[in-house]
C-alpha cells in the first residue's frame, strides 16, 4: 500500500507544481486549488493520525529509499508519537493559513501559494525525517521560502527583518552541519536509531551537543538568541507569522527532543541546570518585556518566547510529566499564537496599523472579533478549561518533580526556584494579555476609528470559518487532552527510558 | 688588486651613479641621457666579460634603437603643464626604505665568491651564431614570431587613431 509519510511529504511539492500551471491572473482559481490541496494533505495526515497505534513507541509508517548509496545515506522517513502531533499541527494550520490569505494577497499570488507549499514540505519533512542528512536538508529548505515570504509580502521594514532572520538561523545551522559531518565521519551512520545507541566520550559529546544546541536554541529562540523573532514577526505577512509562530519555532524544540537529548545524554546532564535557568529566564523575561510593547505583533512575538520557555523547561526536566507537557504545549502554542496572529492580521488589514495606541474600544466596533480574541487570549494565558492550562500544568508538575528529586539530594530550597518562577509566569502572562485586551478592546471607541472613513465591519463568515477549528481544538484539548497525549506518551516513555 | 679588477670597480660605481642620476633627474630628458650613459658603461662591462657580441648588440639595439626611440618620444610628448617641481609620488620614503631593506636581505643571501681566472670562453660571433642556429633554433624562430606579434600589436593599437584626429 502506498506509504503515507512519503505521500504527505511529496504532495505539497506536487501541489506547488500544479499551481505553476494555473494562469497568473486568475486569483480565484489559485486560491481554491491551493485550499483543496492543503485540505487533501490534512485528510491524509488525519488518516495517519487515526491509524497510528499508541502501543508501539518507535517509528511507524517508515519509508526508506537509498538516496546516496556511495555515502551510505538513504532517504528514510518515519513518524512516532511526537512527530505525529507536530505533523498534524502543520497540516491543520496550512488550510487555515491559506484561507486567511484569500483576497488579501494581490501581488504575485501564485508564487505566494507555491512558497507556502514548499514551506509545508520542508516542515513535514523535518518532522518525519529519521536520517540526520534528510533532517538537515529539510531544515535548510525551510529557510528559502520563509526568506521570500517575509521579504516580498512583508510590511515596510521587511528587508532588515528577513535578512537578520536568515543570517541568524543559517549561522546556527552551519554549526549543526559541522557537527553532522563530524558525526558522519566518526560514527559512520546518520540514522537516528543507530545514533541513539552509540555513546561517545563526554568531551566530544559536549562539543557536538553545544553545536546542535546552538542551532536549535536559535530556532526555539531561547533567551539570548531571540532578537530575530520580534523583527521577523512584525514584518512578516499574516500567513508568514502564523507559520513562523505556529510551526517553525517547534522545529527547534523538536530538534532538542529528537536529536540533542537522545544523542548526547552525558552532555545534556552536564548542561541541564544552565539550560533550565535559561528557559526560566526566557519565561520571565519574555513576559516582562511584553508588558511594555507598543506594537501588538511584537507583543505576541515576545509572548511566544515566554511560552516556548515553558516548552523548553518541560523538555529539559526529562520526566514523563515535563516532556508530555512540553509536547502538548508545543501544539497549544501553535494553536493559540496562530490564532492571535490571524486576529492581528485581520486588524491590520482593516485599519493598517499595529500600534496598540491607535486602537481603543474595539469591542463596541467589532463584538464578535472581541469575543474570539478573548477566547484565544485566555487559551494563551492558560485558563483551566482551555488547552494552554493543561500544557503549562504538566510542565509545572514536571518541574516540581524535578526539583523535588534534586531537593532529596541537595537539601537546599533553591531547587524549587524553576517551578516557582514558571508559575509566576502564569501571573505575568495574564497581566500582559489582559492589559493588551483592555487597551485595545475596552474604553470608549478611539476617535480616529470612530470618525475614520473605513467602514466598520465585524468578522465575515469566511474569517469566522477559520477561527472555528481553532476554538474547537482549544476546548477539546482543554477538556479531553488524553486523546492527543495518549498518542505521544509511549514514545516519550521510551525516550526517557533510553535517556536514563 | 690588479688594474683589471680596479676597472671593474670603477665601471660598476659609474653604472650605479648613472642609475641614481636617472632616479633623481628632474627633467625626463636628463633621465634618458643618464640611462644612455649607463647603457654604454654596461656595454663596456660586457666586452670585458668576454661577451663582445652582446656588448655590440647592447649598443646597437638597446642604446641605439630603444633609447633613441624613448628620447624621441620624450621630446615629442614633453608637455608643458607637467609639474617638474614634484616629480615623485607621495610614498617616496616608504619605497626607498623598502628597497634598501630588500637590498640588505638579498645581499646577505648571496654566497661570497670571487672568481679567479677561469678559462676564457671566446664569445665571438661565429661560436655564438653556430650555437644559436643549432640547439637554439627553436628559440630563434620563437623570437621572430614574437617580434612579428609585437609589430602587429603596435599597428592595431595605433590603427584606429588615424581617422578620429
Amino acid at each position: 500500500m502506498i506509504n503515507f509519510t512519503m505521500l504527505i511529504v511529496i504532495l505539497p511539492l506536487i501541489a506547488g507544481l500544479i499551481l505553476t500551471v494555473l494562469p497568473k491572473k486568475n486569483e480565484k482559481a489559485i486560491e481554491w486549488t491551493s485550499l483543496i490541496f492543503s485540505l487533501l494533505i490534512f485528510i491524509i495526515s488525519l488518516q495517519i493520525f487515526l491509524g497510528f497505534d499508541e502501543a508501539n513507541p518507535n517509528y511507524q509508517y517508515t519509508f526508506s529509499f537509498p538516496w546516496i548509496p556511495q555515502w551510505g545515506i538513504n532517504f528514510s522517513l518515519g513518524i512516532d508519537g511526537i512527530s505525529l502531533l507536530l505533523i498534524i499541527l502543520t497540516t491543520f494550520l496550512m488550510p487555515i493559513v491559506i484561507l486567511s490569505s484569500w483576497k488579501h494577497i494581490h501581488k504575485l499570488t501564485r508564487e505566494y501559494y507555491i512558497l507556502l507549499f514548499i514551506l509545508e514540505t520542508a516542515m513535514i519533512g523535518t518532522f518525519a525525517a529519521t536520517n540526520l542528512f534528510v533532517f538537515f536538508i529539510f531544515w535548510e529548505m525551510m529557510l528559502i521560502p520563509m526568506f521570500l515570504i517575509i521579504g516580498i509580502w512583508g510590511s515596510d521594514e521587511r528587508i532588515y527583518a528577513t535578512v537578520k532572520f536568515i543570517l541568524y538561523t543559517a549561522f546556527g545551522s552551519f554549526m549543526m552541519l559541522a557537527a553532522i559531518i563530524y558525526l558522519y565521519t566518526h560514527v559512520g551512520t546518520l540514522e537516528f536509531q543507530d545514533l541513539g545507541t552509540i555513546r561517545l566520550d563526554p568531551t566530544t559529546q559536549l562539543y557536538l551537543f553545544l553545536a546542535f544546541a546552538l542551532a536549535f536554541a536559535i530556532k526555539v529562540p531561547m533567551f539570548p538568541f531571540h532578537t530575530w523573532l520580534p523583527a521577523a514577526h512584525v514584518e512578516a505577512p499574516t500567513a508568514g507569522s502564523v507559520i513562523l509562530a505556529g510551526v517553525l519555532l517547534k522545529m527547534g524544540t523538536y530538534g532538542f527532543i529528537r536529536l540533542a537529548i537522545p544523542l548526547f545524554p552525558d552532555a545534556v546532564m552536564q548542561c541541564m541546570p544552565y539550560l533550565i535557568a535559561l528557559s526560566v529566564v526566557a519565561i520571565i523575561y519574555g513576559a516582562l518585556v511584553c508588558l511594555v510593547q507598543t506594537d501588538i505583533k511584537k507583543l505576541i512575538a515576545y509572548s511566544s518566547i515566554s511560552h516556548l520557555g515553558y516548552v523548553m523547561l518541560g523538555l529539559l526536566v526529562l520526566n514523563q510529566y515535563g516532556v508530555e507537557g512540553s509536547v502538548l504545549q508545543m501544539v497549544n502554542h501553535g494553536i493559540s499564537s496562530a490564532g492571535l496572529f490571524l486576529l492581528v492580521g485581520i486588524l491590520y488589514q482593516r485599519y493598517h496599523t499595529r500600534e496598540i495606541a491607535s486602537y481603543s474600544g474595539m469591542a463596541q466596533v467589532m463584538p464578535k472579533y472581541a469575543t474570539i480574541f478573548m477566547i484565544i487570549a485566555l487559551s494563551s494565558i492558560g485558563l483551566p478549561v482551555t488547552n494552554g492550562f493543561v500544557g503549562e500544568f504538566l510542565v509545572l508538575v514536571g518541574a516540581f518533580q524535578y526539583s523535588r528529586d534534586f531537593y532529596e539530594v541537595s537539601r537546599n530550597i533553591l531547587t524549587f526556584l524553576p517551578a516557582i518562577f514558571a508559575s509566576l509566569g502564569m501571573v505575568l502572562s495574564a497581566l500582559y494579555m489582559l492589559s493588551l485586551v483592555e487597551k485595545v478592546f475596552f474604553g470608549k471607541v478611539h476617535e480616529k476609528i470612530a470618525r475614520g472613513h473605513i467602514p466598520h465591519k465585524d468578522l465575515t463568515h469566511r474569517e469566522l470559518l477559520y477561527f472555528l477549528p481553532l476554538i474547537v481544538l482549544i476546548f477539546w484539548i482543554g477538556v479531553y487532552p488524553h486523546y492527543f497525549l495518549n498518542k505521544a506518551s509511549g514514545t516519550i516513555a521510551l525516550l526517557i527510558a533510553t535517556f536514563k | 688588486m690588479t688594474p683589471l679588477t680596479l676597472i671593474y670597480y670603477i665601471l660598476g660605481i659609474l653604472t650605479i651613479i648613472g642609475g641614481f642620476s636617472m632616479l633623481f633627474a628632474k627633467h625626463p630628458m636628463r633621465a634618458a641621457l643618464s640611462l644612455l650613459f649607463v647603457m654604454f658603461i654596461l656595454a663596456v662591462l660586457y666586452a670585458l666579460l668576454a661577451a663582445p657580441v652582446i656588448a655590440v648588440l647592447q649598443i646597437i639595439i638597446y642604446s641605439g634603437a630603444i633609447m633613441t626611440l624613448i628620447v624621441f618620444i620624450v621630446t615629442l610628448l614633453d608637455s608643458k603643464e607637467d609639474d617638474l617641481r614634484k616629480p615623485y609620488t607621495k610614498c617616496v620614503y616608504l619605497v626607498t626604505f623598502l628597497m634598501f631593506l630588500l637590498l640588505l636581505v638579498t645581499m646577505n643571501l648571496l654566497p661570497p665568491a670571487t672568481f679567479g681566472n677561469a678559462p676564457m670562453v671566446d664569445g665571438n660571433i661565429g661560436a655564438l651564431s653556430k650555437e644559436l642556429l643549432t640547439n637554439y633554433v627553436f628559440h630563434f624562430e620563437l623570437a621572430s614570431v614574437l617580434l612579428l606579434v609585437g609589430i602587429i600589436g603596435i599597428s592595431i593599437i595605433r590603427a584606429g587613431r588615424g581617422e578620429k584626429q
Binding site: 485558563l383 483551566p384 516540581f400 | 610614498c91 619605497v95
Partner: protein, 662 residues
C-alpha cells in the same frame, strides 16, 4: 455511589450559558435576519431576546437548584458515611497523575451547592428587573450562568484540579462581569485588577497542589485525607503546602495581603456584587480550607497563621468600613471583615461554625447588596450615602428588608447573624487554638460591624434627605421582581440562624442541624472545658456589642448634630488614614506595579534587549560594513600604489619563507 444525576446540576446552567452566549454572539446577525424575514423592529427584537435570555437564565439556575435539593434529600436518607459521586471523563493520565472530571456530592458540598444555586437563582430573578434596560442582557445572563457552572465545578470537584478549574473559572467570570460595562475604562481596569490579584492567589494554590501531589502522589480529596493521616511526612512540608493553599484562598476570599481587588470589584453591576462578591465566590476560599481541614489540622502552625490573618482582616476591614461614603464600598469591606471571621473560625478549629457563618452571611449579605442595588436603582445611580437619606417612606419594602438584614449582620439575638457569629466568638475564646487576644479582636470587630452597619442604615434611610429635590421626587420603590427577592432573602436572614442553634439553647430541644449534618465530614476541635463555662458570658458580650454599636451609631448619626464632624476634625489624621484605606492601594502601586513596569521598560527592554543583545547582533552587520568602507581607500586607481602593494607582499613572503627555512 455513582449517580448520573450529579452532572445535571452542572448541565442546566451550562446549557443556559450556551443559549445566552449564542444569542449575544450572533445578536447583530439575528437582528438583521429577523428584520429581513419577519420585519421585526429593533426594539421588538431586543425586547424578545432580552425576555428569552432572562427566562433561560433564571430557569437554568432554578432547575439546577431543584436538582440540588432533590439530591440533598437523596443524600439525607443515605447513611452518613456515604456520598454521591460521579466520574464524567478522564482528563489527564500521565505517570502517577490520574485526574478525572469527577464530582463529589457529600454533606459539605451539598450545603454549598444549595447556597450557590439557591441564592444564585434569587439573584438571577432580581437581575431580570435590575438589568431591564441594558442592551447586553443576554451577554450578562450568559456570564452569570457561566459563573454558576464554574462555582458548582469548584464546589463539586472531587480533586484539587477540578476545584482549580472552578477556582480560575470563577475568577475569569468575575473579571468579565466586573468589566461588564467595558465602555468605561475604569471598570475594565477594576476587572483586570481583580483577575490579576486572583491569579496571584491561584499561583499559590497551584504550588500548594503541586507540593501535595509531590508528597502524596494524589490530588483526590478522600485519598489525600487518608494519606495525610497515615503517612509520616515531616510537618514542615505539610505546613508549607497548607500555607500555599491558604495564600490561594486569600487571593480568592480577599484576605489581608490580596484583598485590594474586592472594593474595586464594586464597579460591576450590583447583582453581580451580591452573587459573586458577597455570597458565593469569595466563600470559595473558606470552602477549600474546610474541605482540606485534615491537612490544616495536621499543620498547627498553619492554623495559627489562618486565625491571625482572619482576625486581623476582620478588624482591619471593619475599621476602614467605618468611614467609607460609597454604599457598595461599605458592604464590600464588611464582606471582607465577615470573611475574616470565617477564616478565624477555621483557624481556631471550628470549621462547622465557619460554614454556618458562611451560609447565614450569604443570606443577609446578598439581601444587603440587593437592597443597596434597589436604593441605587431608585436613586438613579447615586451611590454616595452622604447624599442620600430619608428613603424610609419612598422605599418601604427595601427599608424593612434592609433593616432585618442589618439586624442579622450586627448579631441581634433572634437573627441568623447572632447564631453564627456567636459560634465563632465562642470558638475564638474557647477552643484549644483560640486565645484571649483573638477573641478580643473578634469582639471589637463585631462592635465595629454593627457600628458601620447602623451608620449606613441611618445615613441612607432615616434623617432628612440630602439628595437634591428633583432626585428625591424621582425616587421610587423597585419593581415587584426585585422587592420579592428582597423579602425572601430577608426571611432567610431571619430564620436562617435556626439551623444551627448554639448548645446553650439546647433546652429548646431543637437539635443543631448543621453540626450533625457536617459532623462526619469535617473534623473540628471541641471546646475546651474552660471554653464551656465561658460561652454564656461570650454570648452576652456579643449581644452587648451589637447594642453598643447601635447606640453609638444613633448618637453620631441618629439625630441632627455635629458630633460626627467634630469627631472627625478631632482625629483628623486617623480619619484620613482610614478614609484612604491605610494607603494600601498606593503602597501596592508604588512597591509592585511601578517597579515592575520600570524594570521591564527601562532595564529589560531598553538596555538588555535593545541595547545589549539586539545591538550586538546588529553590530556584526555594522562592523563588516565599516571594514569594507575602510578597505575601499586602498583602491585609489593609482598604478604605482598597486605595484607597491605587490612589492610589500613580495617582501613579506620572502621574509616568512626565509624565516621558515631557518
Amino acid at each position: 455511589m455513582q449517580t448520573q444525576g450529579l452532572v445535571y446540576i452542572l448541565l442546566f446552567p451550562l446549557i443556559g450559558t450556551f443559549i445566552n452566549g449564542f444569542l449575544s454572539f450572533f445578536r447583530n446577525d439575528l437582528k438583521t435576519y429577523f428584520k429581513k424575514n419577519f420585519q421585526w423592529s429593533a426594539e421588538k427584537f431586543s425586547y424578545t431576546t432580552n425576555r428569552i435570555s432572562a427566562i433561560v437564565g433564571v430557569l437554568a439556575v432554578t432547575l439546577s437548584f431543584l436538582c440540588g435539593v432533590w439530591y440533598f434529600f437523596e443524600l439525607l436518607n443515605l447513611s452518613s458515611e456515604n456520598a454521591l459521586s460521579y466520574t464524567l471523563l478522564r482528563w489527564i493520565h500521565t505517570g502517577a497523575l490520574d485526574l478525572e472530571f469527577s464530582f463529589y456530592f457529600d454533606h459539605l458540598s451539598s450545603i454549598m451547592v444549595l447556597v450557590v444555586t439557591g441564592v444564585g437563582s434569587l439573584i438571577h430573578l432580581y437581575s431580570v428587573g435590575y438589568m431591564h434596560g441594558d442592551p447586553g442582557v443576554s451577554r450578562y445572563f450568559a456570564y452569570l450562568n457561566l459563573f454558576i457552572v464554574a462555582m458548582l465545578m469548584l464546589v463539586l470537584g472531587n480533586n484539587l484540579l477540578v476545584m482549580f478549574i472552578g477556582w480560575e473559572g470563577v475568577g475569569l467570570v468575575s473579571y468579565l462581569l466586573i468589566s461588564f460595562w467595558y465602555s468605561d475604562i475604569d471598570k475594565a481596569k477594576a476587572g483586570k485588577k481583580a483577575f490579576i490579584v486572583n491569579r496571584m492567589g491561584d499561583v499559590g494554590f497551584v504550588l500548594g497542589a503541586l507540593l501535595l501531589f509531590a508528597l502524596f502522589n494524589t490530588m483526590n480529596f478522600s485519598e489525600l485525607t487518608q494519606s495525610i493521616e497515615q503517612s509520616a511526612v515531616p510537618v514542615g512540608y505539610i505546613t508549607c503546602a497548607a500555607l500555599l493553599l491558604f495564600f490561594g484562598a486569600c487571593g480568592k476570599s480577599a484576605q489581608i495581603p490580596l484583598y485590594v481587588w474586592l472594593p474595586d470589584a464594586m464597579a460591576g453591576p450590583t447583582p453581580v456584587s451580591a452573587l459573586i462578591h458577597a455570597a458565593t465566590m469569595v466563600t470559595a476560599g473558606v470552602y477549600m480550607v474546610v474541605r482540606l481541614s485534615p491537612l490544616y489540622f495536621a499543620a498547627p502552625y498553619a492554623m495559627n497563621v489562618i486565625a491571625i490573618i482572619g482576625a486581623a482582616t476582620a478588624l482591619f476591614a471593619a475599621t476602614i468600613g467605618l468611614v467609607q461614603k460609597d454604599i457598595k464600598k461599605i458592604l464590600a469591606y464588611s464582606t471582607i471583615s465577615q470573611l475574616g471571621f470565617m477564616f478565624l473560625a477555621c483557624g481556631v478549629g471550628a470549621p462547622i461554625a465557619a460554614i454556618f457563618h458562611l451560609v447565614t452571611h450569604a443570606f443577609f449579605k446578598a439581601c444587603l447588596f440587593l437592597g443597596a442595588g434597589s436604593v441605587i436603582h431608585g436613586m438613579g445611580g447615586e451611590q454616595d450615602i452622604t447624599r442620600m437619606g430619608g428613603l424610609k417612606h419612598k422605599m418601604p419594602v427595601t427599608f424593612w428588608t434592609f433593616l432585618i438584614a442589618i439586624l442579622a449582620i450586627s448579631g441581634f439575638p433572634p437573627f441568623s447573624g447572632f447564631m453564627s457569629k456567636d459560634e465563632i466568638l465562642v470558638a475564638a475564646f474557647g477552643t484549644e487554638y483560640g486565645s484571649m487576644a483573638l477573641g478580643i479582636i473578634a469582639v471589637i470587630a463585631a462592635l465595629f460591624t454593627s457600628l458601620y452597619m447602623f451608620r449606613l442604615f441611618y445615613l441612607t434611610f432615616l434623617g432628612d434627605n440630602r439628595s437634591g429635590h428633583k432626585v428625591y421626587e424621582h425616587v421610587h420603590e423597585s419593581p415587584g421582581a426585585m422587592t420579592s427577592v428582597l423579602i425572601i432573602l430577608a426571611g432567610l436572614a431571619m430564620i436562617g440562624g435556626f439551623i444551627g442553634i448554639p448548645h446553650l439553647f439546647s433546652f429548646l430541644a431543637f437539635p443543631n442541624l448543621i453540626e450533625e449534618w457536617l459532623e462526619p465530614v469535617v473534623i473540628s476541635f471541641p471546646l475546651t472545658r474552660h471554653g464551656e463555662t465561658l460561652s454564656p458570658l461570650i454570648m452576652l458580650v456579643s449581644v452587648g456589642m451589637a447594642f453598643l454599636g447601635l447606640l453609638i451609631a444613633y448618637i453620631f448619626y441618629g439625630r441632627k448634630n455635629t458630633y460626627a464632624e467634630n469627631l472627625r476634625s478631632l482625629f483628623q489624621t486617623t480619619y484620613q488614614l482610614l478614609w484612604h484605606k491605610y494607603f494600601v492601594d498606593e503602597i501596592y502601586h508604588k512597591l509592585i506595579v511601578r517597579p515592575l513596569y520600570f524594570i521591564s521598560e527601562r532595564i529589560l527592554f531598553n538596555t538588555i534587549e535593545k541595547g545589549g543583545i539586539d545591538w550586538s547582533v546588529d553590530f556584526a552587520g555594522r562592523f563588516s560594513k565599516t571594514i569594507s568602507r575602510k578597505s575601499l581607500k586602498l583602491q585609489q586607481g593609482d598604478i604605482q600604489y598597486y605595484l607597491l602593494y605587490m612589492i610589500i607582499g613580495l617582501i613579506i613572503m620572502s621574509v616568512v619563507i626565509l624565516w621558515w627555512v631557518q
